[in-house]
């Protein structure tokens, strides 16, 4: 007897529509309610604008050689901020990749630490006591198993904290991602896999990472829910993340959120996006700018105006200047910075090496 196999899983031909609450023109989708009140929304907007201002400052400092290679958030502010503000920084954790500055700030990282890090100062890696945040991750997707372990461990110890891990569409191809998802499903870890699908991994388009229709639908394969949201819609991102947080807190396990957004800038300051067609779709996305969308919504409610914007920008400029000044006041790296914190205590050989390095001309000149 010949057997003909019919697909046992729902049709992949069906189009998935990302969750959207706020339209690009700043009006609510029919029937939708704003999940954030105006006060919290203004806070979120300020954070988005601060992020964009730091991006611009960082790029200009990088061009002057005063900042290292770094990746801007620009275009993805609703995605990062909408998810971050769904957390309670006094108990929840953020596990970042490297493109999530406003989430780090929201968790309580001082801006000067971020600046020091990208100025290449070892002190920039320090995360103050009480800030629930893991270090910026350069090794793509390596943070995801950590997030699962952290969430699982917190749950084992009776905490109701949740862990939100950021990563990109590129990262979702790494083994670490799949292993983390699988484990999270098995132990029902209170973790949220927050996938920022910004269309690109350096020059590689999303379509080359996976032939899956969406990246979120891998979740059911690991035994938990996935959801696709309009990543340039602060409300949709916030609503979806809040729901995932609630679920995780209640012990109902992980969620994979695919936030569909777009990187407005280059991959990082060393990249040249004109070489791979990044600009072809950019203008369409700029019309869906996540920041102006919120400003339009608030303006229509009489909660945003040119005067308010000027004021907010002043405040942001002062914050950045203050952080840059604080970073400047930190002495330049010294030989000891190479070794301190590599172990709880330096090894005898390290002690010797430190002594030798402290007497070489390079160290003496503070290079």
């Amino acid at each position: 007897m010949s057997v003909s196999l019919t697909p046992q899983f729902p049709s992949l031909a069906q189009r998935i529509t990302p969750l959207q609450l706020l339209r690009p023109d700043g009006t609510l989708v029919g029937g939708a309610e704003a999940p954030l009140d105006d006060v919290r929304l203004q806070d979120a907007l300020r954070l988005m604008m601060l992020s964009r201002a730091v991006d611009d400052k960082g790029v200009s400092l990088q061009r002057q050689g005063r900042f290292g290679t770094f990746s801007t958030v620009k275009g993805q502010e609703a995605s990062v901020v909408g998810s971050a503000v769904a957390l309670d920084p006094s108990r929840d954790w953020v596990v970042p990749q490297y493109r999530e500055l406003p989430a780090l700030l929201r968790q309580g990282l001082p801006l000067e630490h971020f600046i020091l890090y990208y100025q290449g100062h070892p002190a920039g890696g320090r995360i103050p006591e009480g800030v629930r945040l893991l270090p910026i991750q350069i090794s793509i997707a390596a943070q995801l198993p950590h997030a699962v372990g952290l969430a699982w461990g917190l749950a084992l110890q009776g905490s109701d904290a949740v862990v939100l891990a950021y990563f990109g569409d590129g990262a979702s191809s790494e083994g670490d991602f799949h292993e983390a998802c699988n484990l999270a499903g098995v132990v029902r870890a209170p973790v949220i896999f927050f996938l920022q699908n910004n269309g690109w991994a350096i020059s590689t388009p999303r379509s080359r990472q996976s032939s899956a229709r969406t990246l979120a639908e891998r979740a059911p394969g690991y035994g938990f829910d996935g959801v696709v949201v309009d990543g340039n819609d602060l409300f949709a991102v916030y609503a979806a993340t809040s729901q995932a947080v609630e679920r995780a807190r209640a012990g109902r396990g992980p969620t994979l959120i695919e936030s569909q957004t777009y990187r407005f800038g280059a991959h990082n300051t060393a990249d040249d996006p004109t070489r791979y067609g990044h600009g072809d779709t950019l203008s369409g996305w700029i019309e869906r700018d996540p920041v102006t969308r919120v400003q339009r919504y608030l303006a229509a409610r009489g909660q945003w105006s040119d005067e308010i914007e000027v004021q907010v920008r002043h405040g942001i400029a002062a914050t950045i200047d203050g952080a840059l000044a604080a970073a400047r006041s930190v002495p330049p790296p010294a030989a000891a910075d190479l070794f301190t914190h590599t172990y709880a205590e330096l090894t005898p050989r390290q002690v010797r090496q430190l002594r030798q390095l402290s007497t070489t001309p390079a160290a003496a000149e503070g290079r």
């Binding site: 290679t69 290449g120 920039g124 090794s139 020059s203 067609g277 790296p333």
Partner: protein, 321 residues
């Protein structure tokens, strides 16, 4: 140097249609350092393949491609990210010939840049070549100049065994020299004498060869003639070539960027001490990075070995006996 590497790839792809390139962003983009610039346009999608972001799959599938009869050359964006493929490289690629008792030679070339001095983000500069030198079945080579890079890469692509080809990141743009336009091979398993000297032997590979040469210039101004040796290959190690170079002066300094402890300098020092003991006039000196992770960019000048350290080490060997 990047042009020399591209030249080698293009030459071999033209000469041997079994050669295929796999890696991240190597297609239309031409690679994050432009090593494959233009090759996608010239040879097409079937021979220059943009891979999903998964190093383990890049190297593991390269092994499969090799078994299928192709000659894959894999690009990993930075040597530090070969760790994501560590088990494929160490436990699989390196051993396939042995495990299949000769049936499946793993003719895979893995190209990856490494080394500091260009202020890259974390992990990008990590000099982890010694981790791979410990793996029987795998060859580990590290060219020190554009001319060397081209000839060594062409040779590696014709090697029946897997070769980890470690490129000096700092040299991509900075190292320039005339490179023959035709294809040529080099004895990559033999040390190269970079300059002849009689007083002290400086041993290095990759970007440290340039450092050794600059130190040799400095020493010359003090009347000390340094014998500078480029190992080219750290696995296998050209023991005869190394011993001859050590015996030449009886005073040796080995230089690398990686941390001191269990760096490949340890193998060099041990080999010289065991096999050239009676020719030695002084203990072998090692000038290396410290036992610390490669730091963020602002501290890399403190970390990296410099000319003054090499000169000081050479003087110590000269002061002994």
């Amino acid at each position: 140097m990047i042009e020399a590497i591209r030249d080698a790839l293009r030459g071999e792809m033209t000469a041997d249609e079994r050669v295929v390139l796999v890696g991240q962003d190597i297609g239309r983009f031409g690679g994050v350092f432009r090593a494959t610039d233009g090759l996608h346009a010239e040879f097409g999608e079937r021979r220059v393949f943009d891979m999903p972001l998964a190093e383990g799959a890049i190297i593991g599938s390269a092994l499969g491609l090799a078994i299928s009869g192709l000659r894959p050359v894999a690009e990993i964006q930075f040597l530090g990210f070969t760790h994501q493929a560590f088990h494929q490289i160490v436990s699989q690629v390196a051993r396939m010939r042995y495990r299949s008792q000769g049936r499946f030679p793993a003719s895979v070339v893995i190209r990856a840049p490494f080394g500091g001095g260009v202020k890259t983000p974390e992990l990008h500069a990590d000099a982890i070549e010694s981790q791979y030198a410990h793996v029987p079945g795998l060859k580990v080579v590290a060219p020190s100049s554009p001319r060397e890079a081209k000839g060594m890469l062409l040779t590696a692509m014709r090697d029946p065994d897997p070769v980890l080809f470690c490129e000096p990141l700092r040299g991509y743009r900075l190292m320039k020299e005339d490179v023959p336009s035709e294809s040529y091979t080099l004895d990559i398993d033999k040390v190269r004498i970079v300059r002849e000297g009689t007083d002290v032997t400086l041993i290095a590979w990759s970007a440290a060869v340039d450092l050794a040469s600059r130190a040799a210039d400095a020493l010359l101004s003090e009347g000390v003639r340094a014998h500078v040796v480029d190992l080219r290959s750290i696995a296998p190690l050209d023991v005869d070539g190394l011993i001859a170079a050590a015996e030449r002066t009886g005073r040796c300094v080995v230089i690398h960027e990686a941390p001191l402890t269990a760096g490949f300098g340890a193998e060099v020092a041990a080999t010289i001490s065991c096999e050239a003991f009676y020719a030695l006039q002084a203990p072998v000196e090692r000038v290396t990075g410290p036992d610390a992770p490669f730091p963020l960019a602002g501290a890399e000048q403190i970390y990296l070995p410099d000319v003054s350290q090499v000169v000081a080490a050479a003087r110590r060997t000269l002061a002994a006996s």
